[in-house]
């Protein structure tokens, strides 16, 4: 049976009469609040408040309650002395790799696979990752993330991206690996390249943030500020020099909703499970490999070779060469290593920024290879230029301020 155009419209009218209710729509309080969170003048202070809550709860839960409150006591007071007692061959190479320094009285200084490695993975990073992903899931399920995407769209266009780029950026603050995967939501190769490069260089992962919160709480804000500034400066430059298009985006902003416990549990568990599979083996293995490199004298050798660059160009002590090598395996471990090196506060800020921007950790590196070898090579070329230029610039700022 074939219908004419008029007959089709008649059927549409009948269905519409049965299903659509006509009338004047009255704005509810939820609608009005939803609008406030999107308009720049009112939305920006709200976004700043949401980010404040995010970091305040992150620090209180992961830092004060779990790591300082219980984990430090458990690992330094019981686990480390126990491992030092039961593991045979104190002072031997195997002892050094597995347990670390036999005279250390805390897990940050021991640096063994099963002492510092487990402490960092379970005692510091796990609570940090848990609360980070719980709050991220809450914001997603409430419907705040699309609003944040709309709000930040104009700013991100300046660096060749659009509002949706906030998703990989925030995901990367948990772990760079899902962040790199999430760059696939961006439409063009140019956007994906810029995003991946910026993530690998300027976005510290939750593990690193957790350690920073623990070892440099007073200067962590400055480190993050330098990284945010670098993210926008180099994003702007990349947007100018990388060929390709940066299209606009259309987004359907959903109404605010009450998050469902079952959804939150599934999301958080899925992401935590990913952390167990990817990050914990890398932390333990990374710790072991770094110890082997130290024992083989490789890190001291690299330190000697690169010392003019470190001391004269970056303005950090020669001893930071070791943590920078370790940063390729795990950035969190590298920050922990930096904390035991004697430095001025500004040198510590410079060193931690260098650890963050110097190279993506090996797990992120593997994920970037999957996304395309050409993109990876391009990202690495940018990375080396950025480390050299930005590292030197931070040193210069320190000299001009009289603190370097």
């Amino acid at each position: 049976m074939k219908l004419t155009i008029d007959q089709r419209w008649d059927i549409i009218d009948k269905i519409a009469k049965q299903t659509v209710t006509f009338g004047e729509y009255k704005h509810t309080l939820k609608d009005a609040i939803g609008e406030l969170t999107i308009k720049p003048l009112t939305g920006v202070p709200i976004a700043i408040a949401v980010m404040y809550a995010f970091w305040s709860i992150f620090g209180s839960f992961a830092g004060t309650l779990f790591t300082d409150g219980f984990m430090v006591k458990l690992f330094d007071g019981y686990f480390l002395p126990w491992m030092q007692d039961i593991f045979p061959g104190a002072g031997g190479w195997l002892y050094y790799i597995i347990v670390g320094d036999p005279l250390a009285d805390n897990c940050f200084e021991a640096f063994g696979m099963l002492t510092s490695g487990l402490f960092v993975a379970i005692g510091v990073v796990l609570p940090a990752i848990f609360i980070f992903y719980l709050m991220l899931a809450l914001l997603e399920d409430m419907g705040y993330m699309p609003r944040l995407a709309v709000l930040i769209d104009t700013v991100l266009h300046k660096i060749g991206l659009h509002g949706y780029a906030i998703v990989p950026t925030i995901l990367s603050l948990g772990c760079n690996v899902p962040g790199v995967t999430a760059t696939r939501i961006l439409e063009t190769r140019k956007q994906r390249f810029i995003m991946m490069t910026l993530l690998a260089i300027f976005i510290p992962c939750g593990a690193q943030i957790g350690i920073m919160e623990e070892v440099i709480p007073d200067t962590m804000g400055w480190v993050l500020l330098y990284l945010i500034i670098g993210y926008f400066i180099f994003g702007y430059i990349l947007n100018k020099i990388v060929p390709g298009k940066s299209p606009e985006f259309l987004i359907d902003v959903p109404p605010y909703r009450k998050p469902m416990l079952s959804n939150l549990t599934k999301k958080v568990w899925g992401r935590i499970a990913g952390f167990f599979k990817v990050a914990i083996p890398f932390v333990l293995l990374g710790c072991g490999i770094v110890n082997v490199l130290y024992l083989a004298g490789f890190i001291d050798w690299v330190g000697n070779v690169l010392s003019p660059v470190f001391v004269l160009w970056f303005g950090v002590p020669e001893a930071t060469a070791g943590p920078l090598i370790a940063a390729f395996l795990r950035k969190d471990l590298a920050v922990a290593q930096l904390s035991v090196i004697e430095m001025t506060p500004y040198q510590m800020i410079s060193a931690v920024v260098l650890v963050s921007i110097y190279f993506p950790c090996v797990a992120t590196f593997a994920m970037m290879i999957k996304e395309g070898a050409k993109e990876l090579l391009g990202a690495l070329a940018v990375l080396f230029a950025v480390v050299f230029l930005y590292g030197g610039l931070i040193h210069l700022i320190g000299i001009l301020m009289g603190v370097a």
Partner: protein, 146 residues
Amino acid sequence: MAERSIAAIYFAILGIITTAFGIADILVTMGAGSFAFGILEIPGDLFRGGWGGFIVLSAGLFYLSGIRNFEDIHQFSKIVMGSILIWIMAGCDIFAMITESIPGGEDGTWFNTFNGFIGTYAPPYAPAVLLLPFSLVVVYYIYKRK
């Protein structure tokens, strides 16, 4: 009509006080020191005083911009948003107190003593915590509108 005026006056006063607290937070942070007077303590660190101060200031400005034509849903939503910002700030401060109160001290004990636990909640308090009960009045007006 009279109740509407009372509400507008109430939120205007609350807005002025909140704005003043926000400015004080920022000024104290710029002076690089904390300030305590009675049960009030203005934190001087960059995070709570500076960043937090900006949020308290924004809350005050939300209140002040929402008092005119209070019955309009868009105006009323600004009042509600002012209170939400206060709840965010105060909630974070109270959560920080809770997380501090549970574990024991550096002497190695796992949990805090009862006195230590209660002592964590003693004054002085940050401005947002003091403003919290006054900001809750907005809940009455939300239910009244429904």
